[in-house]
Symmetry: C2
Subunit: 691 residues, 2 copies
């Protein structure tokens, strides 16, 4: 990646002197940003642009350049790539659109280019992107006019969409946040996010990285990078749902991950999950400060109303406002001009017009190890305060820096003071206290999350036995196959047996004990309940026989002609809590485990937590505890807990199963029943799909 | 209120020539805002300020002024009020702090002032506020310097806190939103929010009202005003929780309502519930546009990435992106320069550089009755586009205005274009598409909510029978009293009886049928389960006798010496869903009904919906349907529903009960069981408290 960001010379291919030519925007940006290397505009019509001659062809270059930025019609790009290869130009940035994001012809062109990259050992950023920027050396390759230009600083942006990236660094500039490097991935024909992220994580000029992706390419590698990173990573993946998927696909040819999977991946690897662009801006304002080590904050506010608003926000984001230390309380009591201020937290500075007191308070808070962060709502109330207020602000900022204490400043009313903080003190400020609290939350210190690729734990089941049961042909396992699989995995199901005739079913029911339930067992029948093929509460032999007749009719009416079927007789389990245990395979993150409310509650309660595999029993316990169902299982109001160990063991087994049998696409155990005060669990239904 | 906002002359009391005198800020603002009436600074030391003589006393006024703005030390205020009364100055705005928000002495001063107001028939705004502003006539009474000054416009602000109000109108100015009138309530000694709101709702210069309150004074009247209002009302009440309550109390002496009650009140009366200051700013940007009549939006975006971001936000806020009409799709297909754009919604305008096409698309969307709103992400990509882009923007805005079609514009990258839209076109713009979608959601057309004070429905129970049961002394009813009350109200409980001895209990259990449960019944025992005083699953006489012994021991150990007690024997109910039905009295909004998950689920599931009384059965049905429990009761996956009619009737009964018996403080029926496919409901426990 280094040669992409630090080239000594750049050719810009596709330039003409026509004022609506887009590629000339690249040349304009290189000049505007003060790029110090050589710039060679290239375009078949020749001429001049911004005082530079336009070379008719790359062949006219005096020697190979380090990098070629290409913005020609898509159909010409393969030929340009070929020429670069022949001439030994190894770093290509393609901004042209019209490739796989548009149609099959575009996809074919990408394949052609891929072949050329391999043949000539070239590296390529794009196509269908906005290139890259390095603020250190003025290398600015976007064709669009960047107004306002980014401000130089220490946050790097990787964006699949050039538009989102450039909108954000314009806003960063407005908010006093500086950019170190930017790269627009586009269609990711060659260079993709993980390679760029790894480079930025090592880049000395970068202290935090924002990633905008419309689809994650290799989620497990991304998690591993994030896990090892010492810098904050902000991950924004808005591409969820069908509507967005369509446009994102046509836009940069991406495949969507479920948002909840992204959420789980961020939690497990220590990335911050960004859902709105403004969230990133708020979080980034504190990225230059030490992390917030706990939830105890003190609020200083020049107006009581904004103190209330801040306290409310603290409550919403889970921060505590502990009482002030006795010494600080006494200080405030002494210094309140008319005795109008109470020494509470939040501190309403209302009537204190002596700024020396503000400095004393901030100094005391900086020294106090019981204070994790300071929120300061400041604004001058009268013109005579302006100069003294600025001096006070400067000293407070210096104190907090020296003490490594996070300080989040919201400027009240006055826009000029915002400017002063941002430009003179170098402190990005918040416009509303709610944003400051949100930023503190984003900046909370996290314990290092668990390694994704932990040393392999011993298998909790016999690989051979399980392999014997898994069918070779793709599709859903029949219910009896799935239940036999659970048995081989060591996950308990309710007592059951298979029967082919009413007589066998009645005999089985007698052995299992009444009441029982009957289920139709056929490979093609996936949604049994909806088909009426699950009959509950059968209390005596006649009822079982009657149910057999019903299932036979359903089999005749619903199954494909000639399909084999039988019946599963299962002991009817009373009581307990209905749960869901499941797993599926995410295109980017691999196997994902699900735990939550089962039965009808699955749809209505929306009480599911996800974890990316592998999972050990301790992590599975955390996953369970993260749900409301898990809280109920833990025992409420003095009730005994359910068998959390058995549940976490079952999730761990599913994790191992998915990792060891890549042909398995999904497992859905729903409902599983667990009982407070009783050991074990019982799966009542199982769906398993292989490919 | 009119005389407060349109005085011909104003006295400012408390002014001195000392540069740190705060009251001179009031005079400065009146001059700066161009107030055309007469201004009389008043202060005992005399002198001059801004070229105006300072009168030593109100007595020196040539004639009574229409309004006096007072910012003296608190202790002097009663005397100033008295003088105003004597001189016939009837409108007072007191900005001094140090009253009931500070201490008892301050509260006593307020009482003294209240007496003076009555004696002289005066009206007073404040104390402990920032006064008021009328942008029409330049009447600006805040003492704080307002920089930037508000912009004149059509949004009115009522704020208990002067600080929050002035911070917001500074931000409104920045965002192109204009202020009509502002009033800071402070301690609300006399003028309170509802009177000001009623005035603003009639004010021809005001088209929307924002209310910041740290406590609602008369919530039912507020709801009635909102219900009748034709203008949007934004209600922001951040004061929840103990921490905030303390500061809000010391700040403006308020009493908190539960946030969920405020939420219910907003929903029932058509106010928009604001939780963050920025939410109000976003919503207000569309307040000048027609309401959004449905959830079908079309997104136009100059960059594909921001199109994805917008579609994602639409999904989050519940908007639909329907396919484009065939004609529009064909238009886009024809006009796409390199055929790079697909005619999907969102429309990624990417490669269309011909602005005439943008105008054609917007024109087609304006004509389309199937489109409820247009989201437009626009920004110039190159300098040569600037002028044509602005012309296109102007025409699009005009078309949308003429067609009464809501149009939310987000400006990409370029801050200069924001300025152009705001200042030249008079259109506030959004900085991020997520905000635009949030604003559309806030601006959704609502059907007129139900009247709060509906014509009295016939009572569903006998007033006399219920009155007979309610005790005179305050406190909790015993369990048997509460169950008897339910009987009188016509709400079914599980079959039960009271017993004093083990023999009576066993006999009763035999009549009720096994299994039964036993509960200790004593007035002082409120938390029975936690005390171990509920014994379940008693299957035979010996178990009942044993449980009686246990309860006797608990009674001996836990009850106050000498307190009477007995036992309640209740049939043990199996199955069904555990629910909570309850009611309590909110200090501002009066009786509030609660419905949701009961039993242990009450704590864990947090599945409760609230409604302000009165409630009719149809509204109760909506309340039930608003919960996840209600969705389960409605019958899922082909299950029959529970008896929703009985449940909504029970809620209606509780509503009538609370309204007719003001001494009742709370009713808590938890658990109540309801059963899918079976009529009726059964309360298993009841707590009732009277005062």
């Amino acid at each position: 990646m280094h040669k992409f960001f630090y080239p000594q010379s750049v050719a810009v291919v596709g330039v003409s002197a026509n004022p609506v030519n887009l590629a000339q925007g690249i040349v304009a940006n290189l000049l505007k940003f003060g790029y110090q290397g050589q710039i060679f505009p290239v375009g078949p019509r020749g001429g001049q642009i911004f005082g530079l001659p336009i070379l008719p062809s790359l062949e006219d270059l005096p020697r190979p350049v380090d990098l070629a930025a290409i913005l020609t019609p898509a159909r010409v790009v393969p030929q340009v790539v070929e020429t670069c290869g022949r001439l030994g130009i190894t770093r290509l940035v393609v901004e042209s659109a019209g490739f796989s994001e548009l149609n099959e012809a575009g996809r074919a062109m990408e394949e052609e280019i891929k072949g050329l990259l391999q043949r000539y050992r070239l590296r390529l950023v794009g196509p269908n992107g906005l290139g890259l920027i390095n603020m250190e050396n003025g290398l600015a390759l976007p064709f669009a006019s960047l107004n306002p230009p980014p401000r130089q600083g220490r946050i790097a942006i990787i964006s699949q969409s050039g538009g989102v990236g450039s909108h954000l660094f314009a806003w960063m500039a407005r908010e006093g946040l500086g950019l170190s490097k930017f790269l627009s991935l586009g269609n990711r024909l060659d260079v993709a996010e993980n390679e760029v992220l790894a480079y930025f994580l090592e880049d000395p000029g970068t202290q935090a990285v924002y990633l905008y992706l419309e689809g994650v390419r290799d989620g497990r590698e991304l998690m591993n990078l994030a896990h090892r990173a010492a810098k904050p990573i902000y991950l924004h993946v808005p591409n969820v749902g069908e509507e967005t998927a369509v446009i994102a696909h046509s836009h940069t040819a991406s495949l969507a991950s479920d948002e909840r999977v992204v959420e789980a991946a961020c939690g497990q690897s220590g990335m911050l999950h960004i859902k709105h662009q403004r969230e990133f801006l708020a979080a980034a304002k504190l990225s230059g400060q030490p992390p917030v080590n706990g939830r105890r904050v003190v609020v200083l506010s020049r107006t009581g109303g904004e103190a209330v608003v801040t306290a409310y926000a603290c409550r919403q984001w889970g921060f505590k406002l502990p009482p002030l230390s006795p010494r600080l309380a006494e200080l405030i009591r002494q210094r309140s001009r008319a005795g109008v201020i109470r020494p509470t937290n939040p501190i309403d500075l209302g009537d204190i017009f002596d700024f020396a007191v503000y400095e004393e308070i901030v100094a005391a808070l900086c020294r106090d190890p019981e204070v994790d962060a300071i929120l300061f709502n400041y604004g001058p109330m009268a013109d005579f305060e302006l100069d003294r207020g600025r001096e006070m602000a400067r000293r407070c900022v210096e104190q907090a820096r020296a003490a490594h204490k996070p300080l989040a400043v919201t400027i009240l009313v006055s826009l000029e003071e915002e400017e002063y903080f941002r430009e003179t003190l170098g402190v990005p400020v918040f416009h509303f206290p709610e944003e400051a609290v949100e930023a503190l939350a984003a900046n909370l210190h996290q314990d290092n999350p668990a390694e994704l690729t932990a040393p392999e734990a011993p298998l909790l089941f016999s690989r051979e036995k399980v392999a014997d049961i898994l069918p070779m042909e793709p599709g859903f396992l029949s219910l009896s196959q799935a239940l036999a699989l659970l048995d081989a995995l060591g996950i308990a199901a309710a007592p059951w047996g298979a029967a082919s005739t009413p007589e066998e079913a009645v005999a089985l029911a007698g052995r299992l004990g009444y009441p029982v339930c009957l289920k139709l067992d056929a490979a093609s029948l996936v949604h049994k309940t909806e088909a009426g093929a699950v009959i509950l509460d059968l209390g005596e032999p006649a009822a079982v026989a009657g149910a057999c007749a019903t299932l036979a009719r359903i089999a005749r009416d619903s199954l494909p002609a000639g399909e084999d079927w039988q019946m599963v007789v299962m002991a009817q389990v009373q009581g307990g809590l209905e749960l869901l245990l499941g797993a599926r395979r995410d295109p980017a993150f691999g196997p994902v485990l699900a735990f939550g409310a089962g039965g009808v509650g699955t749809e209505v309660l929306e009480d599911v937590s996800l974890r990316i595999a592998p999972l050990d029993p301790a992590q599975a316990r955390e996953q369970i505890a993260a749900t409301r169902s898990g809280q109920m299982l833990a025992g409420l109001r003095g009730q005994p807990p359910a068998d959390l160990e058995a549940l976490s063991r079952a999730l761990t087994i599913l994790s191992q199963f998915m990792l060891h049998f890549p042909q398995v696409q999904e497992v859905d155990l729903n409902p599983v029943r667990a009982f407070t005060g009783r050991p074990g669990l019982l799966a009542l239904d199982a769906r398993v799909r292989v490919k």
